[in-house]
Point group: C2
Chain length 278, copies 2
């Protein structure tokens, strides 16, 4: 018998992974949660049947959402992660010696618990004393908190259902309020090929809030179209001209995707995307 | 009824496209040839059941195999294309005003005929008087010819069956013989994720023949893993320090993928690939 997992990337494209074992299934208050072990990509976390990460290619996501903004800011000390229940983003933040405190606001405690059990290579940072886990809706948290951060990373699920609010202007205004005067926001913005409207509209919503707004790309082969857009909004520092390459180069040996050349190259957009953003 | 085309990208991964219509099927002396019209990627050419190109994303292949070497050489006049039966590589070469003559050596005339009928946006360059179509095995052609070229582009199919010889050292030695003193070879080298051994061994075979050997990447979402490696071997000019950015910038408006920033960014390799090449 062969077991295959198939995800519809669009109504007209599908991606399938051969499965060794279906390790876990649960239904939380918010979504279904599954962990499968695959032949090609190792363990894969699925929320509502969609790939959130695979062990083999998650570096292209977590390293890129963290190190681009973290090596742009001269000395990031306090970070807020919205979402990020698997732990990969927290793990990467902890690699920065300047980091003193990380608040991670995840709506679904069961995702964290699942990752603790099945994805220790991602979740091991949860036990670090710098990390404060808050199980709450990120939208409510940023509205109510009076804390200030150097980095706010929106490591959210796709903008459907409860996560739609994470892509709204009101949410970004509340994030702005939580950022220090030289703070940086970074958000995942879906596929460059299938969902470029999401990164385009996110950049439009950030207009007037941040003097520096830039999209950049990473490569995550288990995600729809394999090319992913992130958008960075920065109050003061520029990801290219203020890039701390010396510090970044010292971290390179510990990383699976990011390096100094990738940092700069990520901001080069292919013609089809430049045309779409016009 | 729904019609789906599925390709096995590895024994453990599959990619599927919803099909509007199966436009053409034939069996040539060398392979099966199919053209399907898909909802997501437009028309798709298949050889032996594998995606060779789609109308939507072929720019990421053809522009990148041509413009990286062509904007590295100061004035490419004569080019040899080995393979390239769909016509995309010839089409991109013809955008360079310095180009005086293109020899395209394709083993399978039926691929050219299929592209002429079903893929005019790729094949229209075949009727240009600068283009000389030669229906012959590329391996034999480079062994026997005494012509000299500025650019040799190996736009071959995957290294199985008849194409294995295109990845052998003897073949590269014969290509070297066909190159002018400042000539450049560029070859497609398969997936960065699934087949990095191919680009690694290609670079090893070029060692000692070319003082400059560099891999670079493009993004082709219908190809296995979506990230593709090309290897450039150059006798004199360096793709980054000799890059003719002014000339390239003037072509940008006509292109779907390549631009000056992409030219430079393509040489930034992710950590997993750098580690593999070590």
């Amino acid at each position: 018998m062969e077991l295959w997992f198939t995800e519809e990337h669009t109504p007209n494209t599908r991606f399938s992974l051969k499965v060794k074992e279906h390790l876990y299934h649960a239904k939380s208050e918010y979504q279904t949660i599954d962990v499968i072990d695959t032949f090609e990509f190792g363990k894969v976390l699925l929320l509502d049947g969609m790939v959130m990460l695979s062990e083999r290619d998650e570096a292209g996501y977590h390293e890129m959402i963290v190190h681009i903004p973290a090596f742009t800011h001269p000395s990031p000390k306090r970070a807020l992660v919205v979402g990020g229940g698997d732990g990969g983003t927290v793990r990467e933040l902890l690699k920065h010696q300047t980091i003193e405190a990380i608040d991670m606001v995840e709506i679904d405690k069961m995702v964290v618990e699942t990752s603790r059990v099945y994805l220790p290579s991602l979740s091991h940072g949860f036990s670090d004393q710098k990390v404060n886990l808050i199980f709450q809706d990120g939208i409510e948290f940023v509205k109510d908190t009076d804390k200030k951060y150097d980095l706010v990373l929106i490591d959210s699920i796709d903008p459907v259902g409860a996560a739609v609010g994470l892509f709204a202007r009101t949410f970004y205004q509340n994030v702005l309020k939580c950022l220090n005067e030289d703070g940086i926001i970074c958000l995942q913005c879906e596929s460059s090929l299938y969902d470029a409207k999401i990164s385009k509209s996110s950049m439009q919503r950030l207009q007037g809030m941040f003097p520096i707004i830039l999209p950049y790309l990473s490569y995550i082969p288990t995600y729809p179209s394999a090319q992913w857009v992130f958008v960075v909004g920065s109050k003061k520092y520029h990801p290219l001209t203020d890039f701390r390459a010396d510090a970044a180069s010292k971290m390179e040996a510990d990383l699976g995707y990011y390096n100094c050349k990738i940092h700069r190259a990520a901001f080069a957009l292919p013609a089809f995307l430049i045309d779409y953003y016009k």
